[in-house]
């Protein structure tokens, strides 16, 4: 469903050109759970941003569900993000002045669902992450793990086919991280394609496929991880 060919991304400032991605090629099939690891600054977030249509690519081609993304205008890109993609961020990114219910509601309003439909989806997804009793709470009144669960509920309420997570457990302790991972595994089992960027090899290992990024390219050279998972499988 995701197909990147020779994608490059160059950040230009007055003095420097940063090649965040170079000739980056990757195919992800429907239903996969892919983890992305790599050193800091290797381009993981850049890849995710491009995959999630948050940023433009400088060169190469990117097809999502067979559509050439570079041909879409801003409105169409917004719509793809809204309907097909769910985002989970390291720092949760809940909107601080909205309560849990309203936070989950945000993408559903942009989707144009009617009030009854939104309410049903919001309640269902908040129940699913186990926070049914907290709907009127503000984000600041929840723990980090709970906030990340709300973020997952928000990402899932629109039933996206594609979930992108950038260090979803980076701000959580290992127990919380595990439970978030359990949730993601459950979601993947239900058919949602997941791409998750992480630093922690232990977590990466729970994905069904691992890719290693170095210097803005997919590297074949991630021996420990691949060997570990191959040995396990």
């Amino acid at each position: 469903m995701l197909n990147m060919k020779n994608v490059s991304k160059i950040y230009r400032t007055d003095t420097v050109e940063t090649h965040a991605l170079r000739e980056f090629s990757l195919t992800v099939e429907e239903g996969e759970f892919v983890s992305v690891t790599g050193p800091s600054g290797s381009g993981k977030t850049t890849f995710l941003n491009i995959a999630g249509l948050l940023e433009d690519l400088s060169d190469g081609t990117y097809e999502l569900d067979g559509r050439d993304i570079s041909k879409l205008n801003d409105k169409e890109r917004s719509r793809v993000r809204n309907e097909k993609i769910g985002f989970i961020f390291q720092s949760f990114n809940l909107i601080p002045e909205l309560n849990i219910f309203d936070n989950v509601d945000v993408p559903l309003r942009y989707r144009g669902f009617n009030a009854a439909e939104r309410k049903r989806r919001i309640e269902q997804s908040i129940e699913m992450v186990g926070l049914g009793s907290r709907m009127q709470h503000l984000p600041a009144q929840l723990s980090g793990g709970q906030q990340q669960r709300v973020a997952i509920a928000r990402a899932l309420a629109g039933e996206p086919r594609f979930l992108l997570a950038d260090e979803p457990t980076g701000n959580l302790d290992s127990q919380m991280a595990d439970s978030v991972l359990d949730l993601l595994a459950e979601i993947n089992a239900a058919g949602t394609t997941i791409i998750m960027v992480t630093h922690e090899l232990g977590l990466a290992d729970r994905a069904r496929r691992n890719i290693f990024v170095r210097d803005g390219q997919v590297s074949d050279n991630a021996p420990e991880l691949h060997l570990a998972s191959m040995a396990a499988g």
């Binding site: 249509l53 809204n82 720092s91 942009y110």
Partner: protein, 403 residues
């Protein structure tokens, strides 16, 4: 629409919004009442004087000849003036509407010493007065030439016939119904005057006098070294005839000076100078307040956009289009403005009630409040448009790039 969450989000961060709403409310209250004052002044300024302002001018002849034969000179002058091509008519008189100087007299309904029941501006004229001032005679008739007398020939000074304005007649005889022609009142508690004609309107010389609509034509000519001439021209000839008339009179008799040349229009402008200035000042205040409020809204919105940079990026990442981001800030501003204009409406009416009582202002016209509301709503939306557009330019990548 998304009013619900926008409102709830605002309620968690009230301070700035309340201040702006308050500013809008105060602006509206001042705006509405300033406008009411402006409206009243401009209504006052547009009252018709009753004469043909546009085509009327006046000048004064001051003779310094000790052997002056005033009767002859005035008659010669009038003949000369009336003979000028383009002059419709001319009269010798003491003043004209809105000149800010003139003669007034207390009037009695019965002879004998007592309180006067009314008062009136007095214009001394001959039988050309009615036509020179272009008054609209609604009842009775003009003076016959033999009803006009010189004060030197008139032992009691006050002549026995007058032409009054409708307003004066009504004030003198409030109970009376039907024609006022033939009714009698008394000057100075002893000289009877019989109404021979009623004109629709002729204002007094004093713009601020409450009795400005009460005046009368008195068929008396006064022998004096001063003679004020009022001249009405055919439309369009006024300016050239002002020059010609001055030259003509200066040339016809060397023993005098001509001064006080001026049009009725100028006199009118002068007499409403204060009102015109007030209107200018109040418009300026309204503009200034509106601009300050607009800038306040720009400031609040810019601050709000800056504070929410990350949230805007998140919204974009979650699928908000650029127009959706613009709409968010427009709606937010609409809510703040609505609170402001509703509070402002209440405040405006309250202030108006106070002003009506304190300064006898006429109460607000019903449409002023809704119009002010719409104006401030529009100002708000225009003011917020810039910051909102900037907000829509925030990249969705903010969501992953900021900590």
């Amino acid at each position: 629409m998304e009013f619900g969450p926008i409102w709830r989000a605002m309620m968690r961060n009230k301070g700035g919004y309340l201040l702006i709403a308050l500013q809008i409310a105060v602006t509206m209250a001042v705006m509405v009442n300033a406008f009411a004052i402006m409206q009243e002044r401009s209504k006052k300024m547009s009252r018709p004087s009753g004469i043909d302002d546009a085509n009327t001018f006046s000048l004064v002849s001051v003779s310094f000849n000790p052997e002056l034969d005033a009767k002859t000179l005035v008659q010669e002058d009038l003949d000369l003036l009336r003979g000028l091509p383009g002059v419709a008519n001319a009269v010798e008189t003491n003043s004209f509407p809105l000149r800010q100087g003139g003669w007034s007299e207390g009037l009695h309904r019965e002879p004998g010493v007592g309180k006067s029941v009314s008062s009136s501006a007095i214009y001394f004229v001959d039988e050309h007065g009615l036509d020179t001032f272009a008054l609209n005679l609604v009842d009775g008739q003009n003076f016959a030439p033999d009803q006009v007398s010189w004060d030197s020939d008139s032992p009691d000074f006050w002549p026995a016939t007058v032409i009054v304005t409708q307003a004066l007649a009504e004030d003198l005889f409030p109970e009376h119904e039907g024609s006022y022609v033939g009714k009698t009142f008394w000057f100075n508690d002893e000289n009877p005057a019989n109404i021979v004609g009623v004109v629709e309107r002729m204002q007094a010389p004093w713009p601020t006098w409450t009795g400005i609509e009460r005046s009368m034509l008195v068929p008396l000519r006064r022998e004096s070294e001063f003679a004020r001439y009022v001249i009405r021209t055919e439309p369009g000839y006024r300016d050239e005839l002002m020059v010609q008339a001055e030259e003509l009179l200066s040339g016809s008799n060397k023993d005098r000076i001509i001064r006080g040349l001026g049009s009725a229009e100028e006199a009118r402008k002068l007499s409403y100078l204060g009102d015109a200035a007030m209107i200018k000042i109040l418009s300026f205040i309204i503009l200034l307040l509106t601009a300050i409020t607009g800038l306040g809204i720009v400031g609040l919105a810019s601050f709000s956009v800056a504070r929410r940079t990350r949230q805007i990026g998140i919204r974009r990442a979650l699928g908000a289009t650029k127009p959706a981001i613009v709409r968010y800030f427009m709606l937010e501003n609409f809510l703040v403005s609505s609170v402001g204009v509703i509070a402002g409406g209440v405040l405006a009416v309250g202030l108006n009630i106070v002003m009506v009582q304190a300064f006898a202002l006429t109460p607000l016209a019903w449409y002023v409040i809704p119009v002010a509301m719409i104006v401030l709503w529009v100002v708000g939306q225009v003011a917020v448009a810039g910051p909102a557009r900037r907000a829509s330019g925030i990249s969705p990548a903010i969501a992953t790039r900021s900590i």
